[in-house]
Amino acid sequence: MKTIRLFLVASIALHASFISAQTAEERGLQIAKAAEKADEGWGSSSVDLKMVLKNKNGQTSQRFLSNSFLELTEDGDKSLIVFDSPKDVKGTATLTFTHKVGSDDQWLYLPSIKRVKRISSNNKSGPFVGSEFAYEDLSSQEVEKYAYKFIKAEGDLLYVEQDPVDPKSGYTRRIAVYNKDKGYRLEKMDFYDRKNSLLKTLTYEDYKLYKNKYWRALTLNMVNHQTNKETLLTFSDYNFAAALSDENFTEVALKRAGK
C-alpha cells in the first residue's frame, strides 16, 4: 500500500517536472509567437466598420469608419482610419504607424481646415474616440510589447497572461484566450487596470476564415465592468484583395482618403 502511494507520488512529480521543463514565461511567449506566425503574410486589407457606443443607461451613439491595414514584418503595421459619420466629422482621417519599440506615429487630417496634423503622443492608454477601446487595444499587437506567462490550457483554449512593457499602459496585465485549433485566434481578452482589478472584457465573435488561413472576427464587443459602458464593433467583409502598398499609407494618401 505504502509503496503504491510512493510510486504514485513519484510518477506525478515526474509528470509535473516534464511539463515544467518549459517555464510558464517561455510557453506564453511561444504561444504569442505561434499566433503571430499563424497570422503572417496577409499583406494588406481593408474593412468598413460600425462602432456603437452604449452607456450604462443604454443610450447609444454610432460611428461609421473605414479602415485599411498594411502588414509590415520588420516594424509594426500601418493603418488608416476614415470617419464616415457623424456628418460633421465625415472625412476626418487618421494614419498610424505602429512601432515595435517606442511611441507610434500618428497623423490626423481635418477636412474642415484641409490640413494634416502630426500628433506626437505617448499616451496609448486613452480611449479611442470615446469608445471602451484604448489605442493600445486597437493598435497592431506586436509580440515585443508584452511579457508573457502561460496560465492554463482548457482543451484548445490557451490562457496567457500578457504584461505590457510600456510603463504608460493603462493595464497591469491582460489575460488572452487563444484558440490553438483555429490558428491561435483570440477568443476573449480580460483587461486588468493599474490597481489590478478587472476593468474590461473583450469578446471576439463571428469569426470568418480568409484565404484559408487568416481568422478575422467580424464582431468585437468590449464591456467595461467598472463603468458598465459597452462598445460594439461590427465589421463588414474584409477585403484582402486590395493589394495596398506603402503609397496608400502616406500623408498624401491620408488627405486623399479624407476629402
Partner: protein, 791 residues
C-alpha cells in the same frame, strides 16, 4: 362627573390589577421581559451608512435634478489629496518627484478610475502642424532646472489647473482621485477607499515629511458622516453614567438604580433589534437614538420609583403595597407621557430627510418598549429586590416643599403682571425667531475637532472651493454643442460666471473649444476663441477626444448624443442662502441671454444641502400641526377638559418660539437638524403641562380648591418632579450637544433651551393663565383660603 369617575376608577383598577399581576408573577414576568429584550437584541444589527445621499428622500426635487444630470454625464466621487510642501514651492525636482510617486500610488486606490495631478496633466503644444501631447512633468527625476521652470510657467498659465489642481502661486497642489463606487453597499465601499487612502497618505508622510497633507472630497465627506455617526453612538456611554448617577442621587437606593438600568438597557436592546428587523442603517442623525431613549426612558422609571420609595420611607407602607400604590398613581401619567413622546417622534416621518424618519421611528419604538419595561420589569425587579427602610429623607423634602410653595404663592399673587411680562418676552423672542435663516453648509456640519473640517477649510482657503453648482446646458439638437452660436453663448456664460465674486473656478466646454482651436493654429493666442464653423468645431472635438488620457472621456463634460454640455462652477465657502442666490442669478442670466434650449437649473450636492433645510421645514410643517392636534387631543382626553386642552397649546408651543428666539441671539442660522425640534420637543415638554394641569384639576375637582389654591397645590405636588425630569432631560441633551456633528449638536442645544423655557413657562405663564381663565368661576364659588397660603 359620574362617568368620569367611572373611567378613572376603571384605569385605577386596571393599573392595580396590572401591578398585582406583575408582582404575583414577578419571576415569570422578569424572565419573559429578559427573553423579549434579548430576543429582539438578537435580531439587532448596527450598520452605518455614510453616503451623503441618505439625507435626501427619493422624491427630493434637488436630488432628482442632480441624478438626472449624473445620468447624462459620468457619475463619480472623489478623494482630493492636497499637498503643501514646506518650502512653499511645488516646482522643485524633489517635490515633483514626490507628487509623481504619490500619483502612481494613488492609481491603486480601490474603485479609482482616474488620478489627476499637476505632473500627469495632458499638456498640448503646437509647432506648426505638429501637435505634442504629453504629461506636464513625466519622469521629473530627469528634468533640468530650466525645464522645471518651464513646467512651472506652463502650469501657472493653465486655466484647467489653476484653482483646481494648483493655487496661483504654485505653493499648494492637489491630487484628485476619481472613484467610481459600484454603489452596491456604501457601508463597505466607502471605508475600503478611506482605509486605502489613509494608509497611502501615512506612508507618504513618513517618507516625505517635507509635505503637509490634507484630504477632502466627497469620499472623505461620506467618511466624516460615517465616523460622526459612530462617535455620536459613543455618547451613549456618557449618558449611561449620568443615568446611573442621577438615579442614585434621586432614589438613594442601589436596587432602584439597578432596576432602572435594566429598563433603559432593555429599551435600547429592543431598539437595536428594531434596527435589525427593519434593516435600518445608522446615520449621524439617527445614531443618537440610544442617548435619546436613555434620556427619555429614565424619567418613566424615576417617577414610579420615587413614589414607591416615598410610600415605603415616608408613609411606612409595605413593599408590595407601596409598589401597587405607585403603579396605581403613575400608570396613567407614564402612559400619557410615553404616548405623547411617541407621537412627537413619529411625526418626524412627515419630514423630507430620511435619517430623521429613522430617528423618529427608532426612538418611538424604544419609548414604547420603555413604557412596557417600566411597568413590568421595573416592578417585578423591585418586588424581587429587598428594601431597606430609611427615615431621614423626610425633612429635606419638607424644606424643598417650602420653596415650591413660595414660588406658587409668588405666582398667584400677580397673574396679570406675569402674563403680560411673559407675553412680552415671548413676543419679542418670537419676532427674533423669525429672523433665523437656514444654512446647511455640509462642511460646517462638522466642528473643528473633525479633521475633515480643518482639512477642507485649508483647501478652501488655499486652493479651491469645496462647494459647486453644475448646469447642464442644452443646445436643442443632436451634435448641437458644435454649433458656433451655442459655443459663443456658452462662452459668454462662462465669462459671466468667471466675473462673479463667489466663483473660484469654472469648467466649461467652451474652454476646451478655445484651447483646441489655439492648438490647431500653432498655439497662436489670437485663436484662443471658440471656432466659428460647425464642421471645424466637430473635428476639433474629435481631435480632442483622441487626445484624452486613460480614465477620461468626453462624457465627463458632454452627453452621449452631444446635445448638452456641463458647466461646473466651483464656489468659495458661502452660506446656503448665497449659494441659492448665485444659482438663481446664473439661471436668470441664461434666461435673459440665451435661447430656450440653453436654459438650465443649478444642481449639485451643495445645492441639495442648501435647500434641504427649507424642504424639511416645509414638509415638517404638516407634521407639526398633526403633532399639535394629536397631543392636544390626548391632553383634552387625559385632563377631561376641552378648555384646558386648548389652553395647553400655549405652554406647549411657546417654548419652541422662545428657543428659536434665543437661538437667533446665539447663532442666527438654523440647519436641517433643528427643524425637527418642534415635533420632537412637543412630545417631551407636554409632560410638564400634563403633570401641572392634572394636579391643578385634581385640586379643583377632588379637593374643591379655588384656582389660586389649586395652583399652589400643583406647585407643591409636582414642582419637584418637574424640576427633576427637566434636569434629567437637560443632562441628556447637553451630552448630545457635545456632538461634533452640527445636525445633532445644534438640535440638542436648542432643545436644551426649549426644555428650560418650557419649565419656566409652566411655572410662570401657565399658572397665571390658569388663574385668569378661572376668574369668572372663582368669583362665583366661595374662595377657600388654604392653610398653605398663610405659611
Amino acid at each position: 362627573m359620574n362617568a368620569i369617575n367611572k373611567a378613572k376608577n376603571a384605569t385605577n383598577a386596571f393599573a392595580k390589577n396590572w401591578a398585582n399581576f406583575v408582582i404575583k408573577f414577578k419571576w415569570p414576568v422578569l424572565i419573559f421581559t429578559i427573553l423579549l429584550a434579548t430576543g429582539l437584541a438578537s435580531q439587532g444589527k448596527m450598520q452605518f451608512d455614510g453616503d451623503y445621499h441618505v439625507f435626501f428622500s427619493e422624491s427630493n426635487p434637488e436630488l432628482e435634478a442632480f441624478d438626472a444630470l449624473q445620468e447624462k454625464y459620468t457619475k463619480d466621487d472623489n478623494v482630493i489629496v492636497v499637498l503643501a510642501p514646506k518650502n512653499g514651492d511645488i516646482f522643485t525636482k524633489e517635490n515633483l518627484m514626490a507628487i509623481e510617486e504619490l500619483t502612481a500610488e494613488a492609481w491603486n486606490t480601490p474603485y479609482s478610475s482616474r488620478v489627476d495631478a499637476v505632473t500627469n496633466f495632458q499638456h498640448t503644444s503646437a509647432q506648426g502642424d505638429d501637435l505634442y501631447v504629453d504629461d506636464l512633468s513625466y519622469e521629473s527625476v530627469s528634468k533640468t532646472d530650466a525645464e522645471i521652470l518651464e513646467i512651472k510657467e506652463k502650469a501657472l498659465k493653465e486655466p484647467l489647473l489653476v484653482h483646481r489642481i494648483i493655487n496661483e502661486t504654485g505653493s499648494v497642489t492637489a491630487i484628485n482621485i476619481t472613484v467610481k463606487l459600484p454603489g452596491v453597499d456604501s457601508a463597505t465601499e466607502i471605508p475600503e477607499v478611506t482605509i486605502a487612502t489613509r494608509e497611502m497618505i501615512t506612508n507618504f508622510k513618513e517618507k516625505h515629511p517635507e509635505f503637509e497633507v490634507y484630504t477632502t472630497g466627497l469620499v472623505p465627506l461620506n467618511t466624516a458622516f460615517f465616523e460622526a455617526a459612530q462617535r455620536d453612538l459613543m455618547l451613549t456611554m456618557v449618558m449611561l453614567l449620568i443615568v446611573i448617577g442621577v438615579t442614585l442621587i434621586l432614589t438613594r437606593n442601589i436596587f432602584a438604580t439597578i432596576a432602572t438600568l435594566f429598563v433603559v438597557l432593555f429599551s435600547i436592546m429592543s431598539a437595536v433589534g428594531f434596527l435589525g428587523l427593519n434593516n435600518i442603517k445608522l446615520t449621524p442623525p439617527s445614531s443618537v437614538f440610544p442617548t435619546m431613549i436613555l434620556t427619555l426612558a429614565v424619567a418613566d422609571s424615576i417617577h414610579i420609583l420615587i413614589t414607591f420609595l416615598q410610600k415605603v420611607r415616608k408613609d411606612g407602607m409595605e413593599k408590595k403595597e407601596a409598589l401597587v400604590e405607585s403603579m396605581r398613581l403613575n400608570f396613567m401619567p407614564v402612559f400619557i407621557t410615553s404616548l405623547t413622546t411617541v407621537i412627537g417622534f413619529l411625526t418626524l416621518n412627515f419630514g423630507d430627510v430620511p435619517p430623521f424618519w429613522d430617528l423618529g421611528n427608532i426612538v418611538a419604538f424604544g419609548m414604547t418598549m420603555a413604557f412596557l419595561f417600566s411597568t413590568t420589569t421595573l416592578p417585578a425587579l423591585m418586588a424581587i429586590f429587598p428594601i431597606w427602610k430609611k427615615k431621614k429623607s423626610a425633612e429635606a423634602a419638607q424644606e424643598k416643599m417650602g420653596w415650591y410653595t413660595n414660588l406658587g404663592t409668588f405666582v398667584v399673587a400677580r397673574p396679570i403682571q406675569l402674563t403680560l411680562i411673559s407675553t412680552g418676552i415671548i413676543a419679542i423672542l418670537t419676532f427674533l425667531a423669525t429672523k433665523n435663516v437656514f444654512n446647511d453648509e455640509f462642511v460646517e456640519y462638522f466642528d473643528n475637532s473633525v479633521q475633515f473640517r480643518t482639512d477642507s477649510d485649508f483647501v478652501n482657503d488655499n486652493l479651491t472651493g469645496f462647494y459647486n453648482v453644475e448646469f447642464s446646458v442644452g443646445s436643442g439638437e443632436s451634435g448641437g454643442i458644435n454649433n458656433p452660436t451655442y459655443l459663443q453663448k456658452l462662452n459668454a456664460f462662462e465669462d459671466w460666471m468667471e466675473e462673479q465674486p463667489e466663483v473660484v473656478h469654472v469648467n466649461a466646454f467652451s474652454e476646451v473649444a478655445r484651447r483646441v482651436n489655439r492648438s490647431m493654429h500653432g498655439d497662436n493666442e489670437t485663436y484662443y476663441r471658440v471656432p466659428t464653423n460647425r464642421e471645424e468645431a466637430a473635428q476639433y472635438l474629435l481631435l480632442y477626444e483622441l487626445s484624452l488620457p486613460f480614465g477620461l472621456d468626453l462624457n465627463n463634460q458632454i452627453n452621449v448624443d452631444k446635445s448638452e454640455s456641463r458647466v461646473t462652477a466651483t464656489l468659495e465657502n458661502i452660506s446656503s442662502a448665497e449659494m441659492i442666490a448665485f444659482s438663481n442669478r446664473a439661471e436668470q442670466w441664461l434666461k435673459d441671454n440665451a435661447p430656450e434650449p440653453m436654459h438650465a437649473i443649478g444642481v449639485s450636492p451643495t445645492m441639495m444641502f442648501s435647500k434641504l433645510g427649507f424642504r424639511q421645514a416645509e414638509s415638517m410643517f404638516n407634521g407639526n400641526i398633526v403633532a399639535l392636534i394629536l397631543i392636544s387631543l390626548v391632553l383634552m382626553i387625559a385632563l377631561r377638559n376641552f378648555k384646558l386642552g386648548l389652553l395647553s397649546i400655549i405652554p406647549n408651543v411657546t417654548p419652541v418660539l422662545v428657543g428659536f428666539g434665543f437661538w437667533y441671539l446665539f447663532k442666527g442660522t438654523i440647519n436641517t437638524g433643528m427643524v425637527i425640534v418642534f415635533g420632537m420637543t412637543l412630545g417631551i415638554i407636554v409632560d410638564d403641562t400634563v403633570h401641572f394641569m392634572s394636579k391643578f384639576l385634581r385640586a379643583r375637582r377632588e379637593l374643591g380648591y379655588d384656582a389660586r389654591a389649586a395652583i399652589i397645590y400643583a406647585f407643591e405636588t409636582v414642582g419637584k418632579a418637574l424640576v427633576t425630569t427637566t434636569l434629567v432631560l437637560l443632562a441628556g441633551f447637553i451630552v448630545l450637544s457635545t456632538s461634533s456633528f452640527a445636525l445633532n449638536s445644534y438640535m440638542a442645544r436648542i432643545t436644551v433651551i426649549i426644555i428650560l423655557a418650557a419649565l419656566i413657562i409652566d411655572f410662570f405663564l401657565l399658572p397665571s393663565l390658569l388663574i385668569l381663565i378661572s376668574r369668572e368661576k372663582s368669583e362665583k364659588t366661595v374662595t377657600r383660603a388654604p392653610q398653605v397660603q398663610t405659611n
